[in-house]
Subunit: 532 residues, 2 copies
């Protein structure tokens, strides 16, 4: 068989030859839209390759991107690694201090930045960061006033360049990208993606056990390109020639719905809170007839949400799981063939409780404290380990070596294997509540609480307790109509199978649950706010 | 990223861990069915690995399989390469002489054989073949009387073995399988698949740009496991945990329909003639509500067939193309997103004339006699070249080196690229008709003829002509109701855009078109029958 290296070009070549007439749409906060075909995208990405050469950057230079979702960011996804360089996606929700740390930790020598994020980059530099950065490329027609090195505007920079670039046979093991973890559990750590891992991951995402993407699809990733490669969607979608829709900047449920409808989106991906917001503004039995399925990840979607979409809108919600360290997609909870026909209630219970089947080539292992595999009985909790060709074997600069052991990555998640062969994340190891020697899963309790009609969002944390060591505290965002009492919540949790000793002793009502830079519930912040 | 070799185990591990409860169904000619779950399949495949060890076969031995589609053949697909050995699928439609040649050319030392095919194997041996074969394993409970070396029955052989086998990290470049070409263009040549090529091909088949297979699917490959790996379906389906249905032995349209219906098949694959037969026995607007799409390959499906399934049954037919040398899947003609909504007639014309978009990581090139890329204008014919990580870079024992050039495989097909980025096979190089210095595509004319209401099947060959060098001869199987006249066919072809000089001077009516061992029109036989 031919020795063809799996590199960025194997995902890019068809864009120009076969998919040149397929659209890429970028929606802006004012709901205006930029649209162009793959042919133009491919030409501009190759102009970017030449432009990076023209700046004199080493061919293995790390190039940061501080940008919203959009067509220029997509050009960088291919243009930076196409020329051999490494794309370091930067989380635009970091503080200037964190951003400076991450940029210098990655070794960035150039940064592509959206115009509205230039001030953030300036602040990071003013704090002593960007020490290796020689070029800042503003993703616009012109440069703003800014105290940044080598400031140049993207459009004039690429405008004069040749629109084709030699297809270089980059080695599979060559670094292609870097992403830092969101650092909910400590200092951000860098994960280095290779050409090989990115191609294999894209094949996994495009597979029917992933997001099932093909040329007939139009995909809207409502997840940031600045973190976890937007779940790999931009690479997978480009590889198969799917129409792509990006929502730049902050967005509203209404903008998401407009895009889903106008662009005839067939597959969308995002965190559960998006789908809760969207559901609030959908009406009628088949409000989005083109949408084949929604992929929901980042947190466990409440069963009420899965039920709403299935029964009211006829749209399946598929639960996905992954981490920065797993590229990120590791599992998707497709119903097996024989489960498709279950009655609604059973199907929904199954979908809500069985969170994942591994994407092909990924292996999972759930282990007890002694490292032995736990029984997959739907009860026993264990530490989740993962292994696969797109799973990290180390962090940048040798950080966190303790998480890699015996060829496996220890995720820091606590999981349960079901008798049906699915697994489910019970908690982050550090979010488990240890009460009287027994464990309580905060994730399970949150899911149950969010199924209550008067609860919009819920996060459960541990607070210290002299007798039981730890006890659960429920932080709840009530609905508009009524605020549930603690007794009502107890009754509700009991009906959902929680034992008396597991029930939270206290509930705190909040306007919103604080979130991390990638939109997850920020339990670190909640613990700081409710120390006892 | 972890250095996990892409080998058979990366497609097999989840069968036991996650998909143990998914069914594998084998239908026999009497319409009885064998069914068992993946868990049992995985245990038995590992017993087979131990059994092959127990016979003392070298760990890189070539093991032939002469078998119909079915669960034991599937066990061999994993059990033979799982233990490091090489599975050589043998075409059961070969003559004893051809079979003997192919077995010895592959270097087979053991052969797995279905009971009803034992006599064929005996004949091949009686002709002096099987010279390296030391073991013949009959896929049954017991052995028949037969003059074959090391005769042993499969069931008792594996029965006592351990049901788990160590996951060996076989290298990616290790041979996994061998398949011989069907030899329509000369002596059969051997193609060697590696562990890497097979895993990547399975990911391509499972992708949304391939057959789009996932855990929710039930797949029925009506293509032989003895040739072209049943289009890679058994590997891809096992990898993603899809329910699998196999039809052993010869089958009828009625048996296919029963399987599609009873087993709730979602994806089926087969040659166009199967779908013509099946269409004849389907009734009602949605006769197969579970069937998401049909993949049709091996020959161009007539537009009338695509229209029938789309308009009458609501089932999309997707055209696929590939060769033994391309593992075999190289392209599938998914409609791009913006083409989905075309009116029926336009859609069908598009689907019938635009035969393919390459599966991810595969590259195509259409070249003129000087090796320059032809213009993709829907008109210009050229030689089709293909390249990719699951495309052969050589034949076994160094045969046919002239087909590999500059990192590409020259397919021997003549193709046309369309302005829309699709390509279409116009003909086999040797089936093109050169009349008066101009080329006539036999494939195009066949497709047009088969669109005539009174034509069931049509094959067009060249016959020598003193003036024009070659002229087309139409071989036609007429419908039951009427036999069309030559004039009527001329009128019909003219309406389909054929020029006067292209029209066949003669038509021969046949009861059936002769077929090759893999079910394609056997033009070699037609040319022998109609030399002038």
């Amino acid at each position: 068989m031919m020795d063809i290296p799996l590199n960025i070009w194997t995902m890019f070549a068809a864009a120009q030859r076969h998919y040149f007439d397929v659209e890429i749409v970028t929606s802006f906060p004012d709901d205006s839209r930029h649209r162009y075909p793959y042919g133009q995208f491919a030409a501009r990405a190759q102009q970017l390759m030449h432009a990076l050469d023209s700046l004199g950057l080493a061919d293995d230079a790390v190039v940061g991107s501080l940008a919203w979702n959009g067509f220029r960011h997509l050009e960088a996804y291919f243009g930076v690694p196409g020329s051999g360089r490494v794309l370091h996606t930067l989380n635009l929700r970091l503080s200037p201090t964190e951003l400076a740390t991450v940029i210098d930790h990655g070794g960035d020598v150039a940064i592509l930045v959206d115009p509205d994020l230039v001030p953030l980059l300036e602040q990071a530099r003013a704090l002593g960061g960007l020490r290796d950065v020689t070029h800042v490329i503003v993703l616009d027609d012109h440069t703003p006033e800014a105290n940044l090195p080598g400031l140049v505007a993207y459009e004039p920079l690429i405008a004069g360049q040749v629109t084709s670039y030699p297809r270089t046979p980059w080695a599979e093991s060559r670094p292609l990208g870097i992403c830092h973890t969101s650092g909910t559990t400590g200092r951000p750590k860098g994960v280095v993606y290779t050409h090989r891992s990115t191609v294999l991951h894209a094949l996994g995402v495009a597979s029917g056990a992933g997001f099932a993407l093909g040329p007939s699809d139009c995909v809207l990733p409502i997840v940031p390109m600045f973190h976890g490669n937007a779940w790999g969607v931009p690479y997978a979608a480009t590889m198969v020639g799917a129409k792509q829709v990006f929502a730049a900047g902050p967005f509203t449920a209404q903008r998401v719905i407009s895009l889903l409808r106008d662009e005839q989106v067939t597959v969308a991906a995002g965190v559960p809170t998006i789908w809760i917001d969207v559901a609030g503004q959908l009406h009628g039995p088949r409000p989005l007839p083109d949408l084949r399925h929604i992929v929901s990840g980042g947190a466990q979607p409440p069963s009420s949400l899965i039920a709403r979409y299935r029964k009211d809108f006829g749209i399946p919600i598929l639960q996905a799981w992954g981490m920065t360290e797993t590229s990120p997609l590791a599992s998707v909870a497709w119903p097996k063939h024989h489960l498709r026909g279950l009655p609604d209630e059973e199907f929904i219970e199954q979908a809500a409780s069985q969170a994942g089947l591994p994407v092909p080539t990924v292996d999972l292992s759930i282990r007890d404290g002694d490292g032995a595999e736990v029984v997959w009985d739907g009860e026993q909790l264990g530490d989740l380990y993962v292994r696969g060709p797109w799973v990290a074997d180390s962090y940048l600069h040798g950080d966190g070596v303790e998480q890699f052991t015996g060829g496996w990555f220890r995720t820091g998640d606590v999981a349960v294997g079901s008798p049906g062969g699915y697994f489910r994340i019970a908690d982050r190891t550090k979010d488990l509540i240890k009460s009287g020697g027994e464990w309580i899963s905060s994730v399970d309790m949150e899911a149950a609480l969010m199924a209550h009609p008067d609860v919009v969002e819920a996060a459960v944390i541990a607070i210290p307790d002299p007798k039981w060591l730890e006890r659960p505290l429920a932080c709840v965002v009530p609905g508009e109509n009524a605020v549930p009492t603690l007794d009502q919540l107890h009754e509700h949790l009991t009906a959902h199978g929680f034992a008396r000793w597991q029930l939270p002793d206290r509930v705190e009502f909040l306007d919103q649950i604080p979130r991390t830079s990638v939109g997850k519930f920020d339990k670190k912040a909640l613990r700081a706010r409710f120390p006892a």
